[in-house]
């Protein structure tokens, strides 16, 4: 039982983690919530962690999802995430220390300039995507916003990324879609459904 905290070492080793990194206002909390609910539907114990308040005003934000037979810490240990979904290139690099050495990085080719860059004090690393490729071999960087726009709404970009992520998790397509139906507002449902399936298709083809 989850509340008795009876997890043993071996079970804790089996706790799996996904990190969602982005910029406040980009919707990482919502994406993490969809993922968490899909994992619960599949029968896992799940914990998530998120940040509210001041950090949401355009700052770096991170949401964490952990699952397994019995999850203890809501926070992902450094180097402990099997996958990271990043909604912005710099945030992928910034939070790379959460990704396991063999972890899978799924990143939107989106650039949001932080204040020091806006101000011209420092420049946005133009080689961000290249560095992601070097530091996280096997990473997938896609134009999630563009793909989502084609699927009906550019605001469904995070759902494209979830679609890509879905292929490495043991949750069925039906389970994913039923959670999306439950958690996404009716008027945005069609585009999010399409965005998810398109991401999933891309990953399966890759």
């Amino acid at each position: 039982m989850h509340i008795e905290g009876m997890a043993t070492v071996s079970e804790n080793v089996r706790t799996r983690s996904v990190v969602m990194a982005g910029v406040g206002g980009q919707g990482t909390i919502t994406a993490a919530n969809i993922l968490a609910n899909a994992l619960i539907l599949h029968g896992y114990d799940v914990k998530t962690s998120e940040v509210h308040g001041m950090a949401q005003r355009g700052g770096s934000v991170i949401s964490m999802v952990r699952f397994g037979e019995s999850v203890a810490s809501p926070l992902v240990p450094y180097g402990g995430a099997e996958a990271m979904v990043a909604t912005e290139l710099l945030e992928a690099l910034r939070n790379l220390y959460y990704l396991a050495p063999e972890g899978r990085l799924i990143c939107s080719r989106a650039r949001v300039d932080p204040l020091p860059v806006l101000q011209g004090a420092v420049s946005y690393p133009e080689d961000a995507e290249q560095r992601i490729g070097e530091l996280a071999p096997g990473s997938i960087v896609v134009d999630a916003v563009g793909i989502a726009a084609e699927a009906g709404d550019k605001r469904a970009a995070n759902t494209v990324l979830l679609g890509i992520l879905s292929t490495s998790l043991p949750v069925s397509e039906g389970e994913w879609l039923s959670v999306i139906e439950r958690l996404v507002k009716a008027k945005a449902l069609e585009s999010n459904r399409n965005a998810f399936l398109e991401g999933r298709r891309l990953a399966q083809e890759a």
């Binding site: 989850h2 509340i3 905290g5 043993t8 070492v9 804790n12 080793v13 706790t15 910029v23 406040g24 919530n33 968490a36 609910n37 619960i40 114990d45 799940v46 914990k47 998530t48 962690s49 998120e50 940040v51 509210h52 308040g53 001041m54 950090a55 949401q56 005003r57 355009g58 700052g59 999850v71 203890a72 810490s73 809501p74 926070l75 240990p77 450094y78 180097g79 402990g80 710099l90 945030e91 690099l93 910034r94 790379l96 220390y97 959460y98 050495p101 300039d113 932080p114 204040l115 020091p116 860059v117 806006l118 101000q119 011209g120 420092v122 946005y124 690393p125 560095r131 530091l135 996280a136």
Partner: protein, 591 residues
């Protein structure tokens, strides 16, 4: 069996309070506690409200529990400072129906000005305290808290932290109960704390503490987890989860009730192990108690006392307890920082820019506008807590006035002092400050940034919006009339999108030898639904790249190489940048 749900700790507290038959709840929004009331307010048949501040909310909850219904007050850690006055006397008068107070502490200061450890408040006020470690415990212990409150005739503190409040985990709710109201009866020797009565009540509290300690010894949620020989860990709250993951099958005493502490249970546990460790966030609250029982626990010499804990820093504190080697991690250096920033179109931007240009000495306050302290706006001089802008400004002005009377004084003049605070913060604790300014002949200027909402915590209503938490219409405080009624004759309203007006009015009021209130009124840009379909663009060729517009720190304005651009998707059309530009190089475009 009830449905298993993924819930935040805050949602779990709200549901548990509802299932415990709680009828009354009051709070002022504050991260990480805000969602407790937001969720509770949606349940059938309950009364829930945003109070102007935490002191008010706790006092209202005390009244409601005396009125015979189970009551809840929820606040962030610093909110309990505001509510500290009723907090310390509420346990003298006790309860009728249960009273539970939630304190949501914010280790790491994700969205706070300090990271005080509110466990000391429970100890100082002789109030029993429960510390949940996840959402299921938040649910279960909230229900226990109401029972304890009634059984022991005392308020109960639920001490949460950010990673309990804002973590989601699975909750299996119990059966809801119906709790009948207790018919009101007068009992003034117990409830009116004149010294004679209070002297009778304090010994009752001390005896109650003994009873509570016996309860704490037997409390089913205090849990001993047997582990390998040698080392035992005493812990509570979310720190337990990190211990569990970092140290595997080590022996653990996981305390759910941390005031009063179960001395015998702790002694029994610690006696079984050669080495005793204490892992807790922030202060050595448990560690001191374990040491006082004659043990020599290892704790804060290695476990960070500042910031929040996680599996990594707990493991690093006591590597001898860990069986796992931490993996190699890739830290990428040289990534530009991404501090939070005022939104594009934020109505605070223009007026803060003007105040900085006027070289105002700005006593600031708690809200989004505090972000304007960062360069390039750099528009704040001091800030300490909710409402302190007006009162610190008062002291600053008096001090500068005294200093100006000294021979050879070369510092700034007192007329430069300006206090700046938001509308919700003004209602929270700015009104008494304004009275201080009026009554004690302050001659400085107070700027109220009235964006018609409590923006930072997620757009809650307040006494100035005319709508309550449960969406009922109510009276709307008239700020101008309120200020005038306090005796402030110079009350003016400006549009923060009109920089010329802001500059003119602020210059006049700062130079006036009388107290002034300037209300900067415009709705939070994130709340505006029907925005004008206008955005601005930089006319390349006209622009000489002087960079003046970059001084407003708008996320829609970017410098790429030498060129300055406006990102059309980010621009909200506020036009502040165009007014800052001296070369008429920024023009509106209709979409």
């Amino acid at each position: 069996m009830a449905e298993r749900r993924l819930m935040t700790g805050n949602e779990a507290v709200a549901l548990a309070a509802f299932h415990a038959g709680t009828r009354f709840a009051s709070a002022y929004p504050g991260t990480p506690s805000t969602e407790i009331l937001e969720n509770f307010s949606r349940y059938e048949g309950v009364y829930a409200e945003w109070a102007p501040n935490e002191k008010v909310s706790l006092e209202a909850a005390i009244g409601a529990c005396l009125g015979g219904v189970r009551s809840l007050a929820a606040m962030k850690h610093v909110g309990l400072n505001v509510a500290a006055d009723p907090w310390f006397t509420a346990p003298y008068i006790g309860v009728s129906r249960g009273l539970v107070v939630v304190s949501a502490d914010d280790p790491e200061m994700h969205s706070s000005q300090n990271e005080q450890d509110n466990r000391y408040y429970a100890k100082a006020a002789k109030v029993p305290m429960l510390e949940p470690a996840d959402s299921q415990e938040a649910y279960d212990l909230t229900r226990v808290a109401f029972e304890m409150s009634e059984r022991f005739d005392t308020p109960v503190l639920m001490r949460m932290t950010t990673r309990v409040c804002h973590s989601r985990s699975i909750v299996e709710p119990g059966e809801p109960e119906t709790v009948a109201a207790i018919p009101y009866e007068k009992d003034s020797t117990k409830r009116v704390m004149i010294p004679g009565h209070a002297r009778m009540r304090h010994p009752v509290m001390v005896r109650r503490l003994d009873e509570l300690e016996r309860f704490s010894e037997e409390f089913g949620w205090q849990r001993v987890e047997d582990g390998r020989d040698g080392a035992g860990v005493v812990t509570s709250g979310v720190a337990y989860q990190y211990v569990k993951e970092a140290f595997g099958d080590v022996g653990i005493l996981k305390l759910a009730m941390t005031n009063p502490l179960p001395s015998r249970l702790i002694t029994d546990f610690c006696s079984r192990y050669e080495d005793i460790y204490v892992v807790e966030e922030l202060e050595p609250f448990l560690q001191e108690a374990v040491a006082a029982l004659g043990f020599k626990p290892k704790g804060k010499e290695s476990v960070p006392r500042v910031g929040e804990l996680n599996v990594d820093n707990v493991r690093a504190a006591f590597p001898e307890l860990s069986e796992v080697e931490p993996p190699e991690v890739r830290r990428v250096q040289g990534i530009p920082a991404r501090p939070p920033i005022l939104c594009a179109g934020c109505p605070h931007r223009g007026i803060m820019y003007i105040l900085a240009r006027l070289k105002a000495i700005i006593a600031g306050d708690i809200g989004c506008y505090t972000l304007s302290v960062l360069p390039p706006l750099s528009a704040h001089d001091c800030q300490v807590c909710m409402g302190a802008s007006i009162t610190m400004g008062h002291g600053l002005e008096k001090a500068l006035e005294l200093a100006q009377g000294e021979d050879g004084y070369e510092g700034p003049g007192s007329h430069r002092v300006v206090s700046v605070l938001g509308d919700s913060t003004f209602f929270h604790s700015g009104v008494t400050g304004l009275m201080e300014m009026a009554y004690n002949n302050g001659r400085y200027t107070v700027v109220i940034l009235d964006n018609r909402t409590t923006a930072m915590t997620g757009f809650q209503h307040h006494p100035g919006t005319g709508i309550t938490l449960q969406e009922d219409e109510s009276s709307m405080v008239d700020m101008e009339m309120l200020a005038r009624s306090l005796g402030i004759k110079n009350v003016r309203v400006v549009d923060p999108y009109d920089l010329e007006e802001c500059r003119r009015v602020l210059t006049e009021e700062m130079n006036r030898d009388a107290p002034s209130v300037v209300i900067s009124r415009r709705e939070c840009v994130l709340k505006v639904r029907d925005r004008e379909p206008v955005y601005y663009q930089v006319m390349q060729g006209v622009c000489n790249e002087c960079g003046l517009c970059m001084g407003i720190a708008c996320p829609a304005l970017v410098k790429r190489g030498e060129e300055i651009l406006i990102l059309p998707d980010s621009c909200t059309g506020c036009g502040v940048c165009a007014q800052v530009c001296k070369h008429e190089a920024i023009e509106p475009v209709r979409q």
